[in-house]
Symmetry: C2
Subunit: 231 residues, 2 copies
């Protein structure tokens, strides 16, 4: 059965893990074995994970004797090895492919850096007494510009009557982007300030691969960071 | 002729641009047109680039009517569209492919973050009077661990009599990794502290695709940052 030689180690609420979970659904490889790791207990630093991934991180993935870590590498591996299983996530046609690849890497390099690394992780990891106010103001300006850039991309998408970040079909670009958007909402971004992003967020929340893999821990408590009000 | 419908806009000394230049050489697509952009004059923010890449960044690439930006996206595009031209950079065999993909993303996500973003860019972008000494000490520790991780990977490679980060053949993992290593050396990393990395650095410097595309601006002045002595 499809996926029955696979095993995924994952943590609820990790956007890297979520990406892999979405790809496995889209590619109809749902027979994989899985083990949910407890982040609070730091189980990813235990022997079972570290023997497979010396960095002690998840996602950690196995497929019939092949061991692979790093979420983007796993997504790419699954698309390359199981291209014709379920949904093709990177189209073969050159013009669409180029857009998908570009948006994938913009989501990873730009959206993640500008919004998640620069603000959410900075504020989470830095003692509040040490926040550099001027630096933070620059970071917020930069992040708003980034969010507005995606708002502009999605305006064109929606005006054309489409739902996905590259036109009329769900692709790897959505796999890269969506968990970042949901992560921001989860931690307190008022997405109604960005109506096109809100429409994208709500529409794709209904997609079976996303709905089914929604981080279970996000269904309970709701941690919101007030500092995201500035976005 | 191979590559004659391509055009690359690039900046000397940019590791993202260098990656694309290496791939074009490896894939024997050397007939591309190119325009070297002047970073000091901020030409990448001019109309010619911005009309092709609204972010005003390089590399910006065209291929027979298709426009694509983001260096990793361009590398991936070239490998997908021109897989059989010149050198195949992502092997088809599942076990080797998984290692190549993993090292590519580790180079991009971990090496770049730990050494280049956290230290070189932090120190370059932050006024020295505002450097957070405790934070910086943590960053140095983290970066040394990361460098030692690659040192360990390369110890195994060299012990097996190989030269490349994934075994006996040059792959996309080297395309992702090498410019980062060279960037650190250029800005003052004493690579002799990491003998396996030094061997890798020196050996691959002789590879035609790397030798030919070595950033021309690096052949002149040599900007060295004393803070890298701590690595």
């Amino acid at each position: 059965m499809a996926g029955d030689k696979m095993k995924l180690y994952w943590i609820s609420g990790s956007t890297p893990c979520w990406r892999v979970l979405i790809v496995l659904e889209e590619k109809c490889l749902q027979n994989y074995k899985q083990k949910q790791v407890d982040f609070v207990k730091q189980e990813q630093k235990g022997e079972e994970i570290v023997s497979r991934n010396p960095r002690g991180q998840v996602p950690t993935f196995e497929d019939d004797g092949v061991n692979i870590c790093e979420s983007h590498a796993i997504c790419d591996y699954l698309e390359r090895c199981y291209g014709d299983c379920g949904k093709r996530l990177i189209p073969k046609e050159r013009a669409v492919m180029s857009q998908v690849l570009q948006r994938m890497h913009e989501a990873h390099n730009n959206f993640q850096q500008a919004v998640i690394e620069n603000i959410i992780y900075y504020c989470m990891k830095t003692d509040q007494t040490k926040w550099d106010k001027d630096l933070l103001e620059t970071k917020f300006e930069f992040a708003r510009n980034e969010l507005n850039r995606w708002e502009a991309y999605l305006t064109k998408v929606h005006e054309a009557g489409n739902d996905y970040i590259v036109g009329d079909d769900f692709t790897m670009a959505d796999v890269y982007l969506y968990p970042h958007v949901a992560f921001c909402v989860r931690f307190g971004l008022d997405i109604s300030k960005y109506p096109e992003l809100m429409k994208y967020y709500n529409t794709l929340a209904q997609r079976p691969s996303i709905h089914k893999t929604w981080p279970p821990s996000w269904k309970k408590t709701n941690d919101r960071f007030g500092f995201l009000d500035k976005l």
